[in-house]
């Protein structure tokens, strides 16, 4: 690999966006801004999915995260009226500890995962596995029961949220 290809450039750009917006998400003062940075991160990750030829997941990712979940977050923040920058921060030493712990986690993870590519890889000859057609076959052949069960999970989550959201529980 002597010269840099366009794909590599795209990978770097997307990674940079993802990491920067993730950092901004953590350190921005207003929750509204945090949500917006999170949306940017999600789009960057969706871009990565497309780079990896996982078009179906990329689309679902955008719909579920950037669509549904973020709307939920925004909605809650607005309902709670939290856009004021009133949040008190943790004491300095705890913030320091948090940074140290996060850094340690990073180092450790990299240490643990390094060399993962040397695992016995199958030659990547089929580039189409992430397409809807392919994935749909797997999902409805091998994972039909978990798929149906996940609908029950959604039902439970829906009922649970409604119950929790009620003003008074009789």
């Amino acid at each position: 690999m002597t010269h840099i290809t366009i794909t590599q450039i795209m990978f770097c750009v997307l990674s940079l966006i993802a990491i920067t917006s993730a950092a901004l998400l953590i350190f921005s003062k207003s929750p509204i801004h945090s949500v917006l940075y999170l949306i940017v991160t999600f789009f960057a990750i969706a871009g990565h999915y497309i780079l990896l030829n996982a078009q179906f997941l990329a689309v679902v990712h955008v719909i579920v995260y950037a669509g549904a979940i973020m709307v939920l977050f925004l909605f809650v923040i607005m309902m709670l009226n939290l856009n004021k920058e009133t949040e008190t921060h943790k004491p300095m030493w705890i913030q320091l500890m948090a940074v140290l712990a996060g850094g340690a986690m990073l180092v450790t993870l990299v240490g643990v995962l390094k060399g993962a590519e040397q695992m016995n890889l199958k030659q990547a000859n089929d580039v189409n596995i992430g397409l809807v057609n392919n994935l749909g076959l797997v999902l409805f052949n091998d994972f039909l029961v978990p798929f149906e069960l996940s609908s029950i999970l959604f039902l439970a989550a829906m009922v649970g949220s409604v119950m929790l959201g009620k003003k008074t529980i009789s």
Partner: protein, 629 residues
């Protein structure tokens, strides 16, 4: 029909359950009906089996019970002549005593409970004699011990009665330990607990005398506890605290003969255990004499009968020890009749005297209680050994065997029977003859007992008078022996056709025995009837020797000093040192460590979610580090 034998113990059990659970909701009439009816039904079944038995022995298997490794114990009954004799005694005498109790207990507020306990007792007793292995027998053995405890302490509001109940239970426990060890040793030796298998094994390995002697002595320790032999006899006189029907049924006619049954059942073992048999004979004859001498100076009507029971049990064991298994069982039967009759008669007297038990305050009761008087007299003659009443024949058979075995036993036996005749007639004369010595109020109150009490007395009197004819020696047929013989077939090497062996001698022995008993009766008549002698109330005036006997040789006091006090001392010390200093300290220390650890670790439960998240992260990091290196 014999296959239906399992119904016999079940019927009283059903009676117990119905009465025990129904309790106060049932009327007294219904309780009496169920209580007596279930036992009567069991008696009728037993009698039917008796007529069909014809010397056979059948195993009635109900279910598998314990089936572990080599140990194979079935829940099954053995119906053979020996078991049937006991079944008839238990259900027959038991039924009469149930009927008697209707009258005797009619004013007691715990009437229903009394009948429930009696039925439970009949159930366990039948279980004991019908079991076809030592485990079933042991269950019945413990069950009757429990019922005995419950019934001695029946009037549990009286502390003394409770103490008597506890004493009976604890002394029996000592014997039971011996019995249990004996059972274990039997299993270790012969790998089985079924009577048939055990006896076959013993028969085939007869040379192994030491182990059979040990088994025999252990079993006899069990019998000592249940059947009140030296050194464990002291509970029986105290057991008279229970209601009189209980004394008659449990502590005279049936339960105390369980030891005799057990040894007779194990006859094959004892035939092969000469030392154990000798021990049984010696203990039996000593008990017979000791209890008879104590009986001479007792003034409580039930205590006299209690010591006489101990003494008669001694005779039974003498018989078993010298190999007269049939004779021993025969004496169990006749004794059941006349001793139950004596106790029931005593109960009738006590009933008439409004609870008075001291014979010094009775006298001249024969006019007021004619039926009781006649039946009591018959029983007294029977126990004294005057022909043709039943006691003569059974005692004679035992004494004849004793003579054949060792003449000293026979001599002591004759002395014992003289003493028996003397104190029984002393009791009889003091109670029924002479002038009335009680209070005027008691005299006014004197009355014959109701029909439900007198009818059993009459039936038992007939049996006590006539049952001996089943075992006339030297007659063409010794009926009882003929019937019982199959049960002892395997033990017969030693006891075969024993009753006919010494026909000429036996006549002389009988004559001597009757002569001795008559002399004793004459002495009693001379002292208590002719001279109207009444035992002096004041103890100081009695001679030293009499005092020792009257205080029962201070055996209770001796046990107290030699056994109870050292145990108390050891318990006290071990409580103070081991319990408080070591065990309690250890337990407290463990508790304190846990408390301390909790007080430290609860600081970790700060409730702060942020802290928890930190802790979680650090834990994950730690795990990853383990993976990393």
């Amino acid at each position: 029909m014999i296959q239906l034998a399992w119904l016999i113990p079940i019927l009283p059990l059903i009676g117990f359950l119905v009465i025990g659970l129904g309790g106060k909701k049932l009327s007294k009439k219904l309780v009496s009906f169920i209580g007596c009816g279930s036992v009567l039904a069991a008696f009728i079944l037993s009698a039917t089996i008796f007529f069909q038995l014809n010397g056979s022995s059948t195993v009635v298997k109900l279910a598998d019970w314990i089936n572990v490794g080599k140990l194979n114990v079935d829940f099954s009954f053995l119906i053979d002549p020996l078991a049937v004799v006991f079944m008839l005694i238990i259900t027959g005498v038991g039924f009469l005593i149930h009927v008697y109790s209707i009258g005797y207990m009619k004013d007691d507020e715990k009437y229903d409970r009394f009948f429930a306990y009696l039925n439970l007792f009949i159930f366990f007793m039948l279980f004991l004699v019908m079991g076809d292995n030592y485990i079933v027998m042991f269950v019945g053995w413990e069950g009757v011990g429990l019922c005995s405890y419950l019934l001695i302490g029946f009037w549990f509001k009286n502390t003394e009665y409770n103490n008597a109940a506890k004493k009976a239970f604890i002394v029996n426990r000592i014997g039971d330990l011996g019995f249990l060890l004996g059972i274990i040793l039997i299993y270790v030796t012969s790998n089985s607990l079924n009577f048939d298998a055990v006896f076959l094994h013993v028969h085939n390995n007869a040379s192994n005398k030491e182990i059979y002697n040990l088994i025999g002595i252990l079993l006899f320790i069990g019998a000592c506890g249940k059947s009140a032999q030296i050194p464990l006899y002291t509970w029986l006189p105290d057991a008279m605290a229970g209601p009189t029907p209980v004394s008659a049924l449990i502590h005279a006619a049936t339960m105390v003969t369980a030891g005799v049954y057990m040894i007779a059942r194990s006859a094959v073992i004892f035939v092969n255990a000469p030392i154990a048999s000798e021990v049984i004979a010696i203990v039996g004859v000593s008990t017979a004499l000791l209890a008879a001498t104590i009986g001479l100076f007792q003034n409580d009507i039930k205590k006299v009968l209690a010591y006489s029971t101990v003494s008669q049990l001694g005779y039974m064991f003498l018989g078993l020890g010298v190999g007269a298994f049939t004779g021993g069982v025969f004496h169990v039967m006749t004794h059941a009749f006349f001793k139950a009759l004596l106790f029931l008669g005593a109960g009738s007297v006590i009933h008439a005297m409004s609870g008075e038990q001291d014979i010094r305050k009775m006298g001249g009761l024969k006019k007021a209680l004619p039926i009781t008087h006649i039946t009591f007299l018959i029983a007294t003659i029977a126990i004294s050994g005057i022909p043709p009443f039943s006691g003569f024949f059974s005692k004679d058979e035992i004494l004849a065997h004793a003579y054949n075995h060792n003449k000293i036993y026979w001599m002591l036996g004759i002395i014992g029977s003289m003493l028996t005749a003397f104190y029984m007639f002393r009791l009889y004369f003091l109670t029924f003859h002479g002038g009335f010595r009680g209070t005027g109020e008691q005299k006014h109150h004197l009355h014959e007992s109701p029909k439900s009490m007198t009818i059993p007395l009459v039936v038992l009197a007939v049996l006590a008078a006539g049952a001996g004819l089943l075992g006339i020696p030297n007659a063409h047929q010794h009926l009882f022996h003929e019937f019982l013989h199959p049960a002892f077939k395997s033990a017969s090497v030693w006891i075969d056709d024993a009753p006919k062996h010494f026909s000429m001698d036996e006549g002389r022995l009988m004559f001597l025995a009757v002569l001795a008993a008559s002399a004793a009766i004459y002495t009693a008549w001379l002292l208590y009837k002719k001279n109207n002698l009444v035992p002096i109330q004041n103890e100081i005036a009695i001679s030293k020797f009499q005092k020792i006997i009257a205080r029962k040789y201070y055996v209770d006091e001796f046990y107290d000093a030699a056994i109870r006090k050292p145990i108390d001392w050891v318990s006290e010390k071990s409580y103070k040192f081991i319990e408080l200093r070591i065990i309690d300290a250890l337990v407290n220390a463990i508790g304190n460590v846990v408390k301390w650890a909790a007080s430290v670790f609860r600081l970790a439960q700060s409730g702060s979610v942020g802290f928890y998240m930190f802790a979680m992260t650090i834990a994950v990091l730690a795990m990853l580090f383990v993976k990393l290196f």
